[in-house]
C-alpha cells in the first residue's frame, strides 16, 4: 500500500489539473478543420485555376481564415494574462510547439486568401455580393492580388498543402510534447490530429453545394482518412498501454472502463467515425442518397475527440 497526501490546494492544479477548459478543444478542432480545408481545396484545384470547379469549391478557401479566426478567438479567451497576447510575437522559441504555432497562424491568412483569390472567376467578381460593389483602389488591389495569385497558383497551392499539414499536425504535437501528462505524451497525436483534421475538413466541405464529382472525390478522401484515423487511435492505445508504464496504463484505463469510456466510444468511435464511415461507403455505392448526416456526425466526432482528450489528459495522474 502506498498512500500519498499532498497538503496543497493550488488553483488549477488541485484536486486535479484543470488548466484548459472548452477553449483549447474548440481551437484544436477549428485548427484541424482549417488545415484539412487548406489541403483539400489546394489539391482540388490541380485541374487548373477556377476551371471546372463549382462555385462553392472556388470559395471554400475563404472559409479557412474565418474558421481559424474563430479558433484564435477561443485561444485568446483561454489566456490568463490577455494583455500580454502580443508576447507570442516578440519571441520565437524553436523548442516550443506553441511558439511555432503562433507564427504559423500568421502565415495561414495570406496563403488561404491568395488561394481563394486565384480561384475566383471574373463572373464571381461580377456577381458575388461582397465583391461586385468594390470600386476604385479596393477593386484595383483585388485585381492585382488575383493576378498575383493566378500567376503563382502552383506555389500558392503547395504552400496551402504544407501549411495545412503543419497546422493539422502541430496541434497534436503540442500536446504530444507535454510528457508530464501520460495520456498526451505520444508522437502519434500529431498524425492522429492531422488525419482527423483532414476528415473533418472534408466533412465541412461536403456541407456545401459541390459538384457531383467533387463530392465523390471528397468522400473517397474522407473514407481513407477515417480508416487511417481508426488505425492510429488503435495504435495510440496500444502504445499507451504497452510502453507508457504504470501511468500510461492508468491513462488508457480511462477509456477502457474508466470515466471517459462511455463518451469516447459513443461520441468519437461509433457516432463520430464508424457510423459516418458506413454511411459514406453506402453513399459511394449509391445505396444511400448523399445527405448531411455523415458530415454532421464527423464534425461532432472531431470536436468530441479533442474535447475528451484535453479533459482526460488532465484527469490522468
Amino acid at each position: 500500500m502506498v498512500e500519498v497526501e499532498i497538503f496543497r490546494n493550488s488553483a488549477s492544479i488541485d484536486p486535479q489539473l484543470h488548466i484548459w477548459g472548452w477553449e483549447i478543444p474548440v481551437y484544436l478542432f477549428l485548427g484541424g478543420l482549417t488545415g484539412g480545408i487548406m489541403i483539400l481545396t489546394a489539391v482540388a484545384g490541380r485541374r487548373g485555376a477556377g476551371l471546372g470547379l463549382s462555385r462553392a469549391m472556388r470559395l471554400l478557401p475563404f472559409a479557412a481564415p474565418l474558421l481559424l479566426s474563430l479558433g484564435m478567438g477561443a485561444l485568446f479567451l483561454d489566456l490568463e494574462y490577455k494583455l500580454h497576447v502580443f508576447r507570442f510575437y516578440t519571441a520565437m522559441k524553436p523548442t516550443s510547439p506553441m511558439s511555432w504555432g503562433s507564427w504559423l497562424l500568421l502565415l495561414i491568412y495570406p496563403a488561404t486568401v491568395l488561394l481563394g483569390l486565384a480561384r475566383l472567376t471574373d463572373e464571381d467578381v461580377a456577381t458575388l455580393p461582397l465583391l461586385r460593389s468594390l470600386r476604385g483602389r479596393t477593386a484595383d488591389t483585388l485585381a492585382r492580388l488575383r493576378a498575383f495569385g493566378t500567376a503563382n497558383v502552383g506555389t500558392v497551392e503547395t504552400a496551402n498543402v504544407i501549411l495545412g499539414i503543419a497546422l493539422g499536425g502541430y496541434t497534436g504535437i503540442l500536446l504530444g510534447t507535454l510528457g508530464a501528462r501520460a495520456l498526451w505524451s505520444s508522437v502519434l497525436l500529431g498524425p492522429l490530429f492531422l488525419v482527423s483534421g483532414l476528415s473533418t475538413g472534408a466533412a465541412f466541405m461536403m456541407l456545401f453545394h459541390l459538384g457531383h464529382e467533387e463530392h465523390a472525390t471528397l468522400r473517397r478522401w474522407d473514407i481513407a482518412a477515417i480508416v487511417v484515423e481508426l488505425l492510429l487511435l488503435g495504435l495510440f492505445f496500444v502504445e499507451l498501454a504497452s510502453s507508457g508504464g504504470a501511468k500510461g496504463r492508468a491513462a488508457a484505463a480511462l477509456f477502457f472502463g474508466g470515466g471517459y469510456t462511455a463518451v469516447f466510444w459513443s461520441l468519437v468511435v461509433v457516432a463520430g467515425l464508424a457510423a459516418p464511415l458506413a454511411i459514406e461507403i453506402a453513399e459511394g455505392r449509391k445505396w444511400l442518397r448523399p445527405a448531411i448526416a455523415a458530415p454532421a456526425l464527423l464534425l461532432v466526432g472531431g470536436l468530441s475527440l479533442r474535447w475528451i482528450f484535453v479533459l482526460a489528459g488532465q484527469a490522468a495522474v
Binding site: 484548459w20 494583455l83 516578440t90
Partner: protein, 184 residues
C-alpha cells in the same frame, strides 16, 4: 541541458528524516513572497507505505525542482520561463501570457496561476540569495531539514550533504535532472 558553465549551480537538499511536516516552510514562503491564498510555491507531501502495523512514512517539503532540463522552459512560447542565475529556473511575469503550457509540462505540479494572470512558482528566493541570505523556507525550518547552496562550491553544505548521503530524485524518468535533492 543548457547549464554549461554557470559560475554557481544552486541546489537545495531536503532531509526527509528531519522533516516533521510542520508547514513552517510553507508559511515562511507565503509570508516572504506574498503568495496568494490559492497558490502554493512549496507544500508538504506525506507518503505512507507498507501494511499495518508495519508502516513507514516519508515527509517531504516539495517545490519547483529548478530542473537542469526543464520542460517548462522548453515549452514556454514567449521565453517567460527561462534559465537564470546559478542555473535556476525563473519566470518573467512581463513576458507571461498565461497560456499555461508550463503548468501542463511540469511533472512536479510546481506552478500555479496567480490571480493577477501570470503563472508563478518558487524562485529559490533569489532576492534573498543575492543579499547573501538563505531562501525563506530554509530559514524558517525548525528542524534544519532544508539546506541551500552552490554545488560548485565543494565546501558548501549542500555539496557536503550530497557527498555523504545518496540522494533521491523525484520522477527521474522524466529526464528533467532536478536540483532539489531528497535525503531518505
Amino acid at each position: 541541458m543548457l547549464l554549461k558553465n554557470y559560475r554557481k549551480r544552486y541546489a537545495m537538499v531536503m532531509d526527509t528524516r528531519r522533516c516533521v511536516g510542520c508547514q513552517a516552510c510553507v508559511l515562511a514562503c507565503k509570508a516572504e513572497n506574498g503568495v496568494p491564498h490559492n497558490g502554493y510555491r512549496d507544500w508538504i507531501v506525506t507518503e505512507t507505505k507498507g501494511e499495518f502495523p508495519h508502516l513507514s512514512m516519508e515527509i517531504r517539503s516539495e517545490r519547483c525542482m529548478h530542473c537542469t532540463n526543464a520542460p517548462c522552459v522548453t515549452n514556454c512560447p514567449t521565453g517567460a520561463s527561462h534559465y537564470s542565475k546559478g542555473g535556476t529556473v525563473q519566470s518573467d511575469r512581463a513576458l507571461c501570457t498565461g497560456c499555461k503550457a508550463c503548468i501542463a509540462a511540469c511533472p512536479y505540479d510546481a506552478r500555479y496561476v496567480h490571480p493577477d494572470g501570470f503563472v508563478d512558482k518558487c524562485t529559490f528566493c533569489m532576492h534573498r540569495v543575492e543579499r547573501g541570505a538563505n531562501p525563506a523556507c530554509v530559514e524558517g525550518c525548525p528542524t534544519k531539514a532544508l539546506a541551500f547552496g552552490d554545488l560548485n562550491d565543494s565546501a558548501s553544505e549542500v555539496a557536503r550533504l550530497l557527498r555523504e548521503n545518496p540522494p533521491k530524485l523525484l520522477s527521474p524518468e522524466e529526464g528533467t535532472e532536478p536540483n532539489l535533492y531528497f535525503l531518505i
